[in-house]
């Protein structure tokens, strides 16, 4: 079943690439949509057939792949990965719809890139073998590199090469860690890595190697600088996938690899990680406040929100962990929605500059209603999904340390400040120029995609049990594992 979820979108991508062309634009789009839909429905059984009472890996598949190095094609999911997989296939479908009229050159390649990326990302979320995981993780860079480079903005070459090299640097160090673990266990199976006893020094080195890979991806301060560049230059679809899913790959991988493989190092370095998270939350929020470019502002707000995710991980409590996971899913929806909103405006005005807008609400009332809803969700308004995750993490942080919680909670102020200030400048006030006055409101296609997202954002805000059902048992099990020391019994 997982194999279908992974390979169906990749195959669909190849079909689109072969059959589609710019001359048959509509045919190509419908073909891509069919592929996206099929891929989405292929992931639904993971939701309906998932056994909530078990924390272990489910839907496992296992086949020999490279026996010379004991590398297996080993897949499986638990409560942490299932919601992320669903988010992935959902977002891909959204991207296909969102790029319907926007992309007019090389349509087939564009759609194919996103479909393949979707399969590869699902592969990352479900791989239980180090090398299989690594292959998916790296392969996914290739389509993203092309998407930003071919369909991106003016400064796209710089942004996409920076994106690729940053990520590559981190992940190659991770590869070294994998090989080291392989020589210790004679296997690349994650579950074998979990059981391997390691001294604190070894754990810290392994943790740092993984940290380089994942911190870049999340991204954590100070290795975040590729993200604003990549976001600003990427086409709307690229930004959506980057923010909604790729950043989560980093968060997910911390939970799956870095922390359980080196639990003592994770505890040992928790203070360091929490500090970095708080810097991201507070400092990056302040940076977001002064942005002139809407996409850049949302990019910085993403970094700040991902700070909550890492903060939730490293306070090691059930509440914090589940809050962090909800925050990942919720941020997937909200950031996707925000980037789509910017995309809607950009298509009409060809500007992302806040100063070029003003009084959009007068010419686009329906759109403005949606945009304000998503902005509220982004600043953590109760009743939206943005509130649930942040609130849970802050609650957990209070038990851990009051001042950590206090600093984290300032984001409710800063987040509201930068988001609402942008909303005020863009949507309200006088109509600033005749271009704004002539804006057309949402088309049916745009309405559809924003409405679906709005339902998800409010749905998760009111009924977060949708996610916690999945995460509850797996999170408890994860915390149990983290509480057990892996240091050799004899001591250091």
């Amino acid at each position: 079943m997982l194999s279908v979820a992974i390979w169906l979108p990749i195959l669909a991508g190849i079909v689109v690439l072969v059959l589609g062309s710019d001359k048959k634009a509509d045919f190509t789009r419908w073909l891509a949509l069919a592929g996206g839909l099929a891929a989405f429905f292929a992931t639904l059984p993971l939701y309906t057939k998932y056994d909530f009472s078990r924390g272990a890996f489910q839907f496992q598949e296992m086949a020999q792949w490279i026996p010379a190095f004991n590398i297996n094609y080993h897949l499986g999911v638990d409560g942490i990965s299932v919601p992320l997989i669903l988010l992935t296939s959902f977002t891909t479908l959204l991207v296909v719809i969102a790029s319907w009229q926007v992309i007019t050159k090389n349509i087939a390649q564009y759609m194919a890139a996103f479909l393949m990326m979707s399969g590869l990302m699902i592969g990352v979320f479900s791989a239980l073998d180090g090398i299989l995981y690594y292959v998916f993780w790296e392969a996914m860079l290739i389509p993203m590199f092309l998407v930003i480079g071919i369909w991106g903005g003016e400064n796209r070459v710089y942004a996409t090469i920076k994106f690729f090299l940053y990520t590559l640097l981190g992940s190659l160090l991770m590869l070294v860690a994998f090989i080291y673990l392989y020589h210790r266990t004679n296997s690349f199976a994650i579950t074998d890595f979990y059981l391997l006893p390691l001294t604190l020094k070894q754990q810290v080195l392994i943790f740092m190697a993984f940290f380089m890979a994942f911190a870049v991806k999340i991204p954590m301060w100070p290795v975040h600088t590729w993200l604003p560049d990549a976001h600003v230059e990427a086409p709307t679809g690229g930004s959506v996938v980057l923010a909604a899913i790729m950043l989560k790959l980093g968060g997910y991988s911390f939970l799956r690899f870095a922390m359980p493989i080196a639990p003592d190092a994770a505890h040992y370095l928790a203070g360091f990680m929490i500090t970095l998270s708080l810097i991201a939350i507070v400092y990056i929020a302040l940076v977001a406040l002064v942005q002139e470019d809407m996409k850049k502002l949302i990019a910085y707000s993403s970094i700040s929100h991902m700070g909550f995710v890492t903060l939730g991980f490293f306070i090691f409590s059930q509440l914090g962990l589940e809050g962090a996971i909800i925050q990942m899913i919720s941020h997937g929806f909200i950031s996707a929605a925000m980037f789509l909103c910017v995309g809607v405006l950009y298509e009409r005005m060809h500007s992302r500059n806040i100063a070029d807008y003003g009084g959009v609400a007068n010419s686009m009332p329906i759109f403005s209603a949606f945009a304000v809803l998503f902005a509220m969700a982004n600043s953590g308004l109760p009743g939206t999904s943005g509130f649930v995750g942040e609130f849970m993490v802050i609650l957990a942080a209070v038990k851990y340390n009051f001042w950590v919680a206090f600093l984290a909670a300032t984001t409710l102020i800063f987040g509201a400040a930068y988001t609402l200030w942008m909303v005020k400048r863009v949507f309200y006030g006088e109509v600033v120029n005749k271009h704004v006055a002539k804006l057309q409101d949402l088309s049916r296609r745009e309405f559809l995609m924003l409405a679906v997202l709005a339902v998800m954002v409010i749905g998760l805000g009111v009924y977060p049990k949708l996610i916690t059902d999945f995460t509850h048992v797996s999170a408890a099990q994860w915390l149990d594992h983290m509480a057990t020391s892996k240091l050799p019994v004899a001591g250091l």
């Binding site: 490279i66 026996p67 010379a68 090398i131 480079g149 640097l169």
Partner: protein, 482 residues
């Protein structure tokens, strides 16, 4: 009499290449220019006949011939097969190119076949004399091939450089061999290895001999600090010859390194692995960093070769069967990538136009999405990004080096691989993100397009299913070096 028969049968593939190469040389004199295509057919037939007899004599046992000067083991079989197939692919890629430049002559095929013969002899060399003989046969053919476009001043200059430096390297190798011979009294590698067991490994003559041998090998590989000839020769030689120099001879160089260092001088492993470590680290660093500054595609690929050789040395210096097998896998992957890379330059070249500057690739995606996609796969494979074979190549050598305990060298190599990724990405950038400068369509014979497609797709397919090639390399090494 019976002995000679066994000897001849053991070296049957070599004999076939020798006979047919001479036949080509003679037949060429009697053929009219418009019938020269027969020569091409004959050359391809030669390779396939030799490949057929190589495959049909596959055994897992080790055989010796010509009074133990010639060895016939799995390593030799596999490498010969790869060399022959590589040469066949090379002939397909270069035919059109040579025809357009009035270089489609019988000598070209005869010389390449003699070079192939030299490589096959090197691969099977069990005595230092055999190895040297094969090496000289290969080198002399390559010197003259580099100067094949004789009116081109650049080619002649490159040939001159190649000859002078190559002769120097051969001399060093021979000097080293003579010292080892002086110490042990034998030219046979398995005898040497046995005799050295009882000798003091700190003996200065022995070490000096080893240093000269390693230097000679490094020269043939093109490893730092003996890399100076590589960029000039790559750039100066006609692209079809660059393709040859960059690909199959590396198999032969790998084979003689295994024969000389891992078999003959195995007792001195502790000494030569330190030398290889230095060369590997420097090759990766200098190759990758210098490649960034290049504007000529052939020159850039030359520096990229130097860095790839560094990775090959990583596997060799591990000094284990695992390490040798990983090096062999790396070389195979490297040759596949090199064939595809230079094949693409040949494809884009036209009459009186060499597509050798980076800018010639600009906007290739608009001119031919197919060619751009193939080059994309090749470039990501060279950069070592999965799911291409280039990734597994790097993976296997790095794990071998890590197993041997070279953690910091591995971390360094990984950092340099990121530097290397930059200039491969730049090619992708030129092809996909930039606008094209010219509109000439790509014209090439259909067989070349077909083989090139298979070649590039193989980089991807072997990346998804690397097991077969890995186990072939593993088994060849394990059977030949127990």
């Amino acid at each position: 009499m019976e002995n000679i028969q066994i000897d001849m049968m053991t070296a049957l593939p070599e004999l076939i290449v020798l006979m047919l190469a001479m036949t080509i040389l003679v037949a060429d004199l009697f053929l009219k220019p418009k019938n020269k295509i027969i020569i091409y057919g004959l050359a391809q037939f030669t390779l396939f006949a030799a490949a057929y007899f190589t495959v049909s004599s596959f055994t897992s046992s080790v055989g010796f011939a010509f009074t133990n000067m010639f060895v016939d083991d799995s390593l030799a079989h596999v490498l010969k097969l790869m060399i022959l197939l590589g040469a066949a692919v090379m002939f397909v890629y270069t035919r059109h190119y040579m025809q357009l430049r009035n270089m489609f002559r019988g000598e070209y095929y005869a010389l390449v076949l003699f070079a192939v013969l030299g490589m096959m002899i090197m691969v099977s060399g069990q005595s230092m004399l055999t190895i040297y003989m094969g090496l000289e046969l290969l080198s002399l053919c390559l010197y003259s091939l580099v100067a094949f476009d004789r009116d081109n001043a650049k080619s002649s200059e490159a040939a001159m450089k190649y000859f002078v430096l190559g002769a120097l390297a051969s001399g060093m190798l021979l000097y080293g061999m003579s010292m080892i011979y002086g110490m042990t009294g034998s030219l046979n590698l398995s005898d040497i290895s046995g005799l050295l067991q009882d000798t003091d490994p700190k003996n200065p003559v022995l070490i000096l001999g080893l240093v000269f041998i390693v230097a000679g090998l490094a020269f043939k590989f093109g490893a730092v600090p003996f890399q100076m000839w590589v960029p000039d020769v790559y750039q100066g030689a006609p692209t079809s010859i660059t393709l040859l120099i960059g690909s199959m001879p590396k198999f032969a160089a790998f084979a003689i390194t295994i024969r000389l260092l891992a078999q003959g001088l195995q007792p001195l492993t502790a000494d030569w692995r330190d030398m290889l470590l230095m060369m590997a680290v420097l090759s990766i660093a200098i190759g990758n960093i210098t490649a960034i500054a290049q504007t000529n595609l052939k020159r850039m690929l030359a520096y990229s070769t130097i860095s790839h050789i560094g990775f090959v040395l990583f596997g060799l210096m591990s000094g284990s069967l695992n390490g040798y097998a990983s090096s062999m896998f790396y070389i195979s992957a490297y040759v596949l990538m090199t064939l595809a890379g230079f094949g693409m330059i040949l494809l884009l070249s036209r009459k009186d136009f060499e597509a050798e500057n980076l800018d010639d690739l600009k906007g290739l995606h608009q001119r031919s999405p197919w060619a751009a996609l193939l080059m994309l796969i090749t470039m990501f494979s060279m950069a070592g990004v999965p799911p291409t074979i280039g990734f597994y190549a790097k993976f296997t050598v790095l794990q071998a080096a890590l197993q041997a305990g070279y953690i910091w060298a591995v971390v360094f190599a990984v950092l340099m691989a990121v530097v290397g990724a930059f200039y491969y990405l730049r090619i992708v950038k030129l092809m996909y993100f930039d606008a094209t400068l010219e509109s000439a369509s790509i014209s090439a014979p259909i067989d070349m397009k077909f083989i090139l497609t298979i070649n590039a797709v193989a980089l991807l397919a072997l990346g998804l299913m690397p097991q077969t090639l890995m186990s072939v390399c593993g088994a060849a090494i394990a059977r030949s070096l127990q």
